[in-house]
Symmetry: D2
Subunit: 508 residues, 4 copies
């Protein structure tokens, strides 16, 4: 196990999330009681919300101090306050204060983390640290495997039969792949199922990357009403949409419910399968997919064309660069190269990233639902540790000012992301909808210089050609690289523009 | 009311705390629901713990979304989770979701913030934003005053009588001034009382600054067993120690209870007065001090000598600078200048700052008890907004890497702190007690360059003379100034050295 | 509205439950704060558990007393303790302490009581009693109707279609009627549906009476493995069992899950319909039944024979009477008479009552699941108030000693139940399974004399003939009547005997 | 240990309370989960409220059933609901479900019961019943003693010194003895202290019996403003009132705070001592009294005259008897006889009982504060089991109809109380203040006949002479005796009359 330190704590929290998110393994986050614990509430809430399995370990005051009845160093309302706070953002939380039950308590939290793919919390009493604990035989002899949720096999079978019948009756079925397929390590099975069915496969926003983007059946990201027209039309035409592992919430980048008619859709998620207006409970995605792989599904042979939201790139390399140019250039850059992953920060880059195409089994990560600013850089560092893939980070200047300086830790862990820092001089995504523009301005930082000072390489680019050249050079640089891309303050990514238009429309 | 923005949210939280801490007015912090609210848990817990009156206002999902039953953008376990979290770190929290009671609910939270001098929380439902609310006459006609806690006048009188008798019997009384005197705006009365009694006055760590440091009766900071010897001896000799507003917790920089024998001491704090082994409840510090000001106290005329923990400064300006040199130089700098305040970061600088002497009614701020890293720079920005005094910030490199970049916001708010950044290349305070030194190293940042890039001035100094010169120059610079002081990795402040020695001793 | 008083409070609680249970209207129970409220916890928990809609109104201390901070007359741990206790046994509970929201709070509790068919709780602050309250227009103009739960019409439709297909494929379908059909006033529709389907209809224990016992399709009570053999066999043969309103818990008089294979059964209860291994949520029983009434169900014409657990009655009127004789005699008595209802106490009589056949639309009541002793007499009084039917109460001596004396209130409310008090001198039902028989003995009471003293008529019978004669005479007596039937200490009802045998078998 | 059964559960609850209340030992109450547990909420709340140490043991569903997820026999909202309910009315509650911690959990509950002198609750999982548990050495080797609360010896000493100084300055001191003296088994020490001080000793209502009523210094019961005039005057004259173990709540039979000026009074209760306007915390009554016994208290020699609220008894034995006659006769009866205790029911008899004088170390019991109806008869049975003293129960007809029939259990436990049943035909105490008199009427019961039927002896008396004769005869009867005393419906006890007058006055 590798120990890494970050500063401040939110960076550590995002890094652990990035590690777990990219590897589907449990990441472990150690914090001090009080200021440390309170400072990771936000990243842990993000992991909870997007179902990333991490284990938070915190110290805690011992019995002696509790009995003293005085306030303890670093305390909130009560000594148990930090525990209560973590109960709100974890699937299991325990205070370890009894050597007789410590082993089974810890075991139970770890198992819950795996079962629910959400954070767990352990607070170890200061005076437990040196104590010997009772470890029952079943823990001592544990073989290291962690159980997933169980299905009722009769329900699985009926659900698969029901699905097969409907699928085989359908003339234009399609599949939307959700994040659970990735969390439960089902990517291989999903691809196999997609091929067996021969239908177009899309992903949701949160699940971008859960289906190989360069697979011939991959059609792109479904973002509901603001999807690329071919996707919207294909879904409208579908007489059966199979949603695999799609959380209801992550469909539209908003909180509106999806518009798929239920009689034409199937939803398999959160250990149940909804088919038309009825439900199979106690059916895990894992078991459902495996049952479908064995079912006599009729094979389609639909030809699928990948689509995104990018207009054709205008010609000319000396042009002032725009966000959409950056997306074109990154796509070109990635097309010929293996070993890269992409991490998109929250904000405009979250939307922009939807038009990135990572091939060659490269990972794609973003906080597609919780969308906390600050995830990008530290999350990418954690992800590189876990996967070895080199991250290409899409990040705005606002988010970079939050946690971007964590990049300074990259050299000593031999990490070398390429940060594409889109500098529009402020909180650009709010500019179209805010009256007081002055509240959105951000101070200017010498990003490229900073990169150099921190042991990386810095570039400052303003034209399409400069970016292309910088990327090409970065590919050869062994250290981390930061490319500051100066764009117009009002320039936004294609999806953001559609999203804002849709939101404003919705409110009127 | 001035609106300021910071990035990320923890900076905003510390800035509001600094404002309220320096001015004794209520600071207001606005955050977005979810990532925003979760990200200020740490600074708000610090305000709670050290009794700083701030009001947190968050948005919240409306009824429509709650009824949908789906997960909402930015959510933790339940829609009420953020509310539950803030219940743990505020003295009053309300969800505003009923136009009939909104006005009285908000009124109640604000009154509680003032009464307890702790944070309050208001979460405003999205669909309440445009609603007209009922405002009862008593709120409409409110004169803007907020009530402090009430005393029982008969208890106040008996406590003052009891105190007077004991004080007048004592031959060597002394006074220790605690943070409540400052929170409840009693500095003037405390000075008057100190002069009336004519006894030596010390402060606790958390209350440093609550008694004028250049007052002839001020003796310095009492840090329990590691106090400067004259202070320790004077307290040991005392036959009566009057503790005014001293929270039990902040005596020893640790969690040990103070060693003052109760039969020789009086504690007035948290609305009660303990005299010898008995207690007067329902006696506020405010009313107790006022009663003592009218009581027939015998006047002493003890000559008091100020003392700190600094050894005499070795001669020579070209020497490699040490932490103690910095303290000597800052003290000299401050001696002749008005309009400065000092803000000490957590870590070694929290201890170092105890040897700083701010005169001329300058404010001194530090998180003396909760001690979260990251308070210094943003806290100082908020404090300058509130008081107009120019902050001199003592800050280590570790803490600066957490929230120091917030200094980039200084220019646009016309703020001009002087940051003395003590760069020892890592988490120096843990070096004497940690095995894995590699976990304590920090990457190097080009601090002085950064300062220039952010619109301030940067200095890099290595000798005593260079620091003196840089400070003198900074005094004349209208913008903010950052002076990076390079010190030996194992150099620590005098109090830190004593503290670590004492802690290690305690555990063995 | 009629005000009645009982003594002590448990009697009042059971009476209100009996009223609501028999009429399907909301019963109202008023108690004093403290001893009064605490004393009805048991009957209210019973109403909660068996879904009887009652409203509990309690007083509560006012603000003045709360502020005093002293313990209040009749208090538990905290002033809010009684409220917390009732939160555990009601579907909605409110403290009425704000005149601005009082009307909507009360309205919300009443609506919840109706929606969930469970108790609600209102605690009215003492100082609210004389206050004028704001009543919003929608409450003022309320038309008196209370809403049932809503269905999703598309789910109803699909569920009905699914059901119809399966029903029409089935060759030997059967129906089991559960208590929800009665709570939601669907008896008429259920009978119509039963006739339309032409299949045998049984009830569960808790629902006995929900299907007319003298209807030609009524087959009797299904008690799972200890049912009368024809019922057990018919269910085993069924290729589809339609369970309408059957709570899972009340099938077997125990806690074992029912043994109906799910692929051959349909369960419509608690606003959902389970068909085979899938589920339709948001489908109320009411809407489901109405949809089935319109569906093209194939009609069966199965001839159904009513059956119970009674062996043929041995000849001879002068014989020492047994429990089974009593059941034979009561059945004969009821056969020719209208206007009677039957109420069975908990204990042996709960099981015995399953062999009673009430015809002529007479009500049958028992606490078939919660099974608290003491329900019988007061419950019957409440039920007679509500329905006007004369109760025939089956009650053991143990239960009678608990709340039987409430019968003394009958005369002044012009109530005239006939109590058949089966006196076996103790807690007979435990005799076969208890070592310490002495703990099961009960003192003897002069029941018949007591009845006379309380304004009723008392009989003491020992033979079959005597009981028959006493019943015949009781029929003519306008006042209440108590018939003490002396039976052997070890005599038990047929179902009890089977139940004990099955329980003992299960544990071994 | 003796096992007793009662019916229904409330009787068992009151009996256990009576046992513990009379003996100051822990009483144990076993109930079944659900109906049993819910049915003892009221008596247990009474024990909690009046600080009677009892241990409630309930069964509970096992893991198997919990996992089944179905509703369990006898359940409320959740399986944990009964546990939550008991948390509100006990000082410690645990669910026993882990064999590793079962022993220490049970040990902790028992210790808490003793420490707080309040009920504790243990719920034993069904599947724990046969399990072997770990018992740590300290539990195995426990010597059977249970600790009282600890004092801070320096506080005890200062409090005693402070008290002594004030007592020795006082010219007319007096003492009021409260219930804690009895609960903590300090009666002997209190008498010794009273004799050492030589001052008049009164008790509060709840503590009647805690100071021997026939002691020459005993002055009677202080009932605040409605006390007998000599008591009221003596307290008004007092320049120091020493309140020993007096709960603030039980002074005035109401909720008003006592009118003793604090500068002239001392209150030792609930582990603290209030002297004038200051407080000594962490001083137990036990340690305080022991310190006073050693302190140099000046001895007074005040001559004390016992007084009550009874007007002189009018002459004539053939008169229609009144409540006050009954009190006179009972006092005469008790004067010459040893071995009797008195138990007063709630209602008019709670007030009436204050004029009873039990001598010869006889116990006196009543629920003086919680005042639940129904305590009398079962409480007396428990008390006789515990003490062997024969109870003389004062009971109204209303309360007797609640739990009076429990007397039928007396013969088999060889208990022989004398019940004086004051029959005024209804809820007499409310008659002066209620408009709807019809709601207060109660049916008539043949009480004397019932007593005979239940194995006791019954008397019906109407004149003074008849009562005297019946009592004399009862004294000789070995079985229990019930004497029904028929009084006028509007006749009330002297204290009740004063109380109602005072209450009505207070509200106007």
């Amino acid at each position: 196990m590798q120990v890494m330190t970050f500063s401040p704590e939110p960076g550590a929290g995002f890094a652990v999330d990035g590690y777990a998110r990219a590897t589907c393994k449990i990441g472990v986050l150690c914090v001090t009681y009080g200021a440390g614990g309170h400072n990771v509430v936000n990243p842990v809430a993000g992991s909870f919300s997007e179902r990333v399995p991490i284990l938070v370990i915190s110290g805690g005051p011992g019995e002696e101090k509790r009995k003293l009845g005085v306030l303890i160093h670093h305390q909130a309302k009560e000594i148990e306050s930090q525990f209560h706070i973590f109960q709100e953002i974890t699937c299991a939380a325990k205070i370890i204060n009894d050597p007789r039950t410590a082993a089974t308590d810890i075991d139970a939290v770890v198992r819950a983390v795996w079962l629910h793919q959400q954070p767990g919390y352990i607070e170890i009493h200061q005076d437990m640290v040196e104590r010997e604990i009772e470890v029952p035989r079943e823990v001592l002899e544990w073989d290291g495997t962690l159980a997933h949720a169980h299905s009722d096999p009769r329900k699985v079978e009926e659900a698969a039969r029901d699905t097969t019948a409907r699928f085989n009756r359908a003339r234009k079925p399609a599949a939307i792949i959700g994040i659970e397929t990735f969390r439960y390590k089902l990517t291989r099975e999903i691809v196999e199922l997609g091929e067996k069915m021969g239908v177009p496969c899309m992903t949701t926003v949160l699940a971008k990357g859960a289906f190989p983007m360069d697979h011939p059946q991959y059609m792109g990201v479904n973002i509901g009403p603001i999807s690329p027209p071919p996707i919207r039309e294909r879904v409208d035409e579908a007489d059966l949409v199979l949603n695999l592992g799609t959380l209801l919430t992550d469909m539209n980048l908003g909180s509106r419910l999806p518009h798929l008619p239920r009689e034409k859709s199937i939803w398999a998620v959160q250990n149940k399968v909804d088919i038309s207006y009825h439900t199979y409970t106690e059916v895990t995605l894992r078991d459902y997919v495996k049952a479908l792989l064995k079912a006599p599904l009729r094979q389609h042979h639909e030809k699928v064309e990948y689509c995104d939201n990018l207009a054709p790139q205008p010609p000319g390399d000396a042009r002032q660069i725009q966000v959409s140019d950056m997306l074109w250039e990154v796509n070109k850059f990635l097309q010929g190269r293996k070993g890269y992953m992409v991490v998109a920060e929250s904000g405009d880059m979250l939307f922009a990233g939807l038009d990135i195409k990572v091939g060659h089994c490269g990972t794609y990560l973003a906080q597609g639902y919780y969308a906390s600013m600050g995830f990008g850089v530290p999350g990418a560092l954690g992800a590189q540790i876990g996967t070895g893939q080199r991250p290409l980070i899409l990040c705005g200047d606002g988010a970079f000012q939050m946690t971007g300086p964590e990049i300074c830790h990259a050299p000593r862990y031999k990490l070398n992301p390429i940060v594409i820092l889109m500098n529009n001089g402020g909180w650009g995504i709010f500019r179209p909808v805010t009256e007081r523009q002055d509240l959105l301005a951000l101070p200017s930082w010498p990003y490229a210089q900073l990169a150099e000072a921190w042991g990386g390489r810095g570039f400052h680019v303003q034209t399409v050609g400069e970016l292309r050249a910088a990327l090409a050079e970065a590919d050869q640089i062994p250290s981390f690289v930061l490319i500051e891309v100066r764009v117009d303050p009002y320039d936004l990514s294609p999806v953001t523009i559609k999203y804002i238009k849709a939101s404003v429309g919705q409110e009127q």
